[in-house]
Amino acid sequence: MTLLEIEIDSRYRFPVLEIILALLVVLSLVMVRFQPFQSQTPEAKLLSLFMFSSGLPLLIIQLLIIGYISSGFAGEIEKGITRIFLSYPIGRGVYFVSKLISLVITPVLILSTSQLIAFGLFDAKLFLSRIADVFGLTLAMIGPLILLSVIFLLVAIVTRKSGTTIALSIILWLMFGIFTSVLSYMANITRSYYIAVILWVLSPIHAFQSHYQPPAFATIFKLTLVEAWTYLSLHYAIIIVLILSVFIYFKRRFEV
């Protein structure tokens, strides 16, 4: 707990967290306000709001996470700070969890909170009447961000170098973006259900897109809400397995 307190306090010293959150809320509000919406169902409108407004804030948070992981985790391993920490009676598991919370979970929480506040202010009635959809879409939006961040953590542990972590993380991030775009394109062109399934598992927002079918993002496949939630659950199952694998690797195999 003390370690987590130190981590959060040093990384998000007042007023860093407050300013980031306030700016992201403003940014999301601006992006939400300037979207022209065609007539559509409330759920489709909600999805369009998420897809239009999450772009830039998501990019900022992703960059923030890469920066934090490279300096706060890989950098600490490189400089030997991790070794000093672990020479004290601190468990490796506790150290890893505190890093996971401060480097990944907190920025993701900042992003989701800012988006939820912006949507709530933009259309409170829609937000409150579709709270389950809002919850699902928020999870679908932050899922790939968490998935990539855990992979970046693994890269930091394996490479142990700050610069290499940044370079590899950016390459992996770009490759993930290209891969999902290609999958989406291929699924539409070939009408292959299997390709679409891979896409929905890797990027569950596409599964919700196939369910709500907003006019701007209509797809050829139609899913039920239960199916969309199933793909979201599969996505989070992958994330949990990945976190556990990285955790076990750090605890048992990682040599300081």
Partner: protein, 185 residues
Amino acid sequence: MSLLSGIIKRFGTILATLALTLLILSFIQFPLASISGQSVIRPKEAHMRAFVNYQIAEHLKISVRSNSSLILYFLNLPTEQPVEPYLFNVLNQEQLNSFLQEHFNQLFKKISLNANEELSFIVPYTQTLVLIANNPSSFHADFKYSIESVVPLVNPDYQPNLVIIFVIGIILAIIDRIIKRTKSS
């Protein structure tokens, strides 16, 4: 205990910062676009103009010139209903009457303007259709108009709530100091 007090303190500062930011934003209105022009409506003809809001407020200013008069109809259309087909439509008197009859329930304001009169109106946050028609008793309508779209990022109706949230945030932010002071005394 120190972690809990730290979390409460940070939660308070976050709430206060957010509330203050949003409160400031609710006072600022960003002009987005403006249109101005002049128009003449001939007898037996009505003009329709849809000021589509998509939650953007618009300042509408109309001034009627000499020897004419006009009527403005404000219709509140449900957001599911596409407003695009009504944009820049020209209707004759019969079409206008049947349109108004059909949308009777959505008509929320009707204003008559006489020669040399001026109207400034803020179109509310809903999807509003403003219908400009010539007054049947007058020969024609000759008017100037200007529309300025403004975007208040935060609905000003939230201001009282934001003030309350700000005060709660400040109280939470200083609560650990209050606890420490109470303990020491």
